[in-house]
């Protein structure tokens, strides 16, 4: 197995399938994510987006198919090994370390990079500032509301400095005024650090603004992918959403 990465793709998913009790949650899914790109994943509820993340990030083992990260086969590796290989993910339903403060959550994540405790604290401070959490960083995370937990979820993965980030609906639950800084932050991270981003999102405005490529899931399959404007005009996509207006915000 070669560890070189001739394709220039950070992430390559080939023929991934996953069933639960005979229901195909994912059926023969392929996806290429070039380095430094931003890929938006959309699709109706139950289309398999979160299952896809779970398979790619190692939380679920696919029934068949392969996941290659930086040219290396990581199919079936446990999540912590995949995280160390440079890919991090957030959870759609927030999973804070409830007994810790928001800051302690971020420090715990930063520690996994292997540096000293002091390094981890400094890295956490940086991320806390960048994500606008400073005002409530010392509150116990159990006491935080959805919007804050979403931001904590993002801060925690940023603290491990991934090279590719899978974001599962980090904008949902934020009011429009709160979304803009997060969207800007993500765009900035791509510019400054070459971060590659794959995100599932229902907020179309953000999807249209951020994505280089939009991928549409429906009933476990990729039914369309391409430039954002092309994809939302695709009749199959419109049909999948049962005629819902996709271009609006």
């Amino acid at each position: 197995m070669s560890t070189s990465n001739p394709s220039g793709n950070v992430l390559e998913v080939r023929g991934v399938s996953k069933s639960f009790n005979g229901v195909h949650a994912l059926a023969d899914v392929d996806l290429d994510v070039p380095e430094g790109s931003i890929v938006g994943i959309i699709g109706p509820n139950g289309a398999g987006k979160t299952t896809f993340f779970n398979v790619v990030a190692g939380a679920l083992r696919p029934d068949s198919g392969h996941v290659r990260l930086f040219g290396k086969d990581v199919t079936g590796l446990p999540p912590h090994r995949i995280a160390h290989a440079g890919m991090a993910r957030t959870f759609q339903l927030m999973r804070p370390f409830g007994s810790m403060t928001a800051r302690e959550n971020v420090v715990a994540a930063a520690l996994t990079r292997g540096g000293s405790h002091k390094d981890a604290r400094l890295a956490a401070d940086e991320v806390i500032d960048a994500t606008g959490m400073a005002a409530w960083a010392d509150a116990t995370s159990d006491s935080l509301h959805t919007a804050a937990l979403k931001r904590l979820e993002l801060a925690r993965v940023l603290a491990i400095r991934p090279r590719i980030l899978l974001l599962d609906e980090v904008l949902a639950g934020l009011v429009p005024a709160e979304r803009a800084p997060v969207v800007d932050l993500l765009a900035r991270l791509r510019e400054a650090e070459g971060l590659t981003l794959v995100f599932v999102e229902h907020i179309m405005q953000a999807v249209m603004k951020l994505s280089d490529t939009v991928v549409v899931f429906d009933r476990g399959r990729v039914i369309a992918s391409g430039e954002p404007t092309e994809v939302v005009a695709d009749p199959r996509v419109v049909e999948a959403y049962l005629g819902q207006e996709l271009t609006g915000a």
């Binding site: 520690l111 005002a135 010392d138 509301h145």
Partner: protein, 348 residues
Amino acid sequence: MTTTTAPPAPTPAPTRERAQSLKRSLLILVAIAAVAACAPFVLPESRQSIAIRVLIFAMMAIGWNLMSGYGGMFSFGHAAYFGIGAYTDTYLLVTFGWSPWLALVVGAALAALVAAGIGYVAFRYKLRSAYFALGTFAIAEMLRLLATNTKWVNGTTGYHVPLLPESSWTMLQFGANAAEYFYIGLAMVVVCMVVTLLYLRSRSGIYTVAIRDNEDAADALGISVMRVRLTTMALSAAITAAAGMFYAQYYTFVDPDTAFGSAQSVQAIAPAVIGGVATPWGPLVGALILGPLADLTVTWLRTPPAFLDFLTGRSGLDVVLYAILLIVIALVLPKGIVGSIQEWWKRR
């Protein structure tokens, strides 16, 4: 697509000084130890056994609290590690004349190894919560039966530590009710506390709490859940094994029931639950309550006060009292004494 009008960012909870600094915890520990060190001057010699009981309870509960309180892995079988500590000590001492201090090293290492083995199998096969607790209980019972039926550890008879004509620090043996026992026990408790406080601040300790709070998130962030859990279990077992060794040396006697019996598992749990699970001082506070209580029940059973004379010659009163106390604590102070005080302090 609708614009969600979620409430604005949450009202920030009041910023407060949370995790006590290590220095402060160590200072509190020094203060506790200093006060405790006066006990031999205050307690009549005949009451020294109460203080020793407190120390043994404290050590067992400190070990249990690390794994089950901070680690969230509920053990109902800490008798396994306690017994390994007690048996390794007496076996090496009686058979080869080893110093208990050397035997402690071997016993703690053995207990740590067994704990890691149990943990590996349990988590490999995804034994969770109640099933995990039952599994640990089963292992302790298995060890009890094994000791009972194994000739080379003297089966049901167990071991008597041979009495020496004179006091010896190397052999950890002193005259009955000598204050040395108390000071050695106290020093061991202090060491166990320091180890625990340092561990909780280490990378592995922080991960331990993270995994307890949310295993999937910890895993996704790059924390090796299995490795961290096994480390915590091993340390917890080693501390409890130290309690077993000290027990064997003080009472100069172990048999399968006193070492591996489920009563020992309960005695590791009860002080921590009463004092406050996952609080640093909970096990100490709980031990301070249960030690005298345990001694009282023994006295009552031997020579019951007039109104309780039906108790003469019976056993198990201590367990009944622990159970009642646990129920009362669960109802009145679900977070234990220290936990409830902390809660009150925060809300003040």
